[in-house]
Subunit: 164 residues, 2 copies
Amino acid sequence: MNKALGNALHLTLPEGLPFIDYEREFDFPVAEVFRAHAEPDLIVRWLGPRGYTMEVEHYDFRSGGTYRYLHTGPEGVPYSFSGVFHTVRENEFAIQTFEFGGYPDVVSIEFMTFTDLGGGRCKISGHSVYPSMEARDGMASSGMEQGMSEGYERLDELLAEGRS
Amino acid sequence: MNKALGNALHLTLPEGLPFIDYEREFDFPVAEVFRAHAEPDLIVRWLGPRGYTMEVEHYDFRSGGTYRYLHTGPEGVPYSFSGVFHTVRENEFAIQTFEFGGYPDVVSIEFMTFTDLGGGRCKISGHSVYPSMEARDGMASSGMEQGMSEGYERLDELLAEGRS
């Protein structure tokens, strides 16, 4: 097993506040991890749970850009996700809105900080803000943690491939 | 005094949750009130407190559009505001992000519902979601309520002008 796969996702649901916070370290440089979020050709190779395929309709990772993509699981049902990028600062920070097509108009806003840890390592810190406690709790019980966890493992694998 | 000015802004700060909720009725049809939010030439004539001038850098009120404008008060200091429109449905609903240039990266997401009340009247219901309690409380104590209240009175006056 690749050493990189040893980095765990730490996800927190603050009591009584409609937030989801998370941290994940990577044994790869911040520029590589950021680039894997920025380029649609790369993101389709890791975002989402194992066993899902991702199809990007559009994905314009810049301040003011928009995105829309589909995840299709083993059962063949496509799930759509869409939003706008409020802020994107290369290798540093992004703010985006996020809407799951299954819950139209229940839109969250997500803050993602990329931190260079030195020594070719980095960290992603996320803060997701939901429009109600119900929306936060629904997202938390949707399998999100496992999906994110698997997605970041796939990202480790993708970046490790780039080295071999 | 114009009858339309009798409609008060009702603003609520839910205890312990980073939200600001508000309602405001208008003695004007929903299409007129929505249009005053959609067209930059109109919005500069009412948005913001009395005594401020508004200058739009860009304002593209459609799903996926972006905006940026400046408010300048009597003391001559310009305040910038910017964001993206996640959703815009004509005469119905809008979701937008909102950032005050004085607090960069502290971005809220705002949900605004336009309801036809019949008889040529309508209501705006707003739900604003902040990334922390501190951000919500800071916004609430910034003079926001008076600024919104005066802005909606100016909107009443603008729409009344259109009739005379």
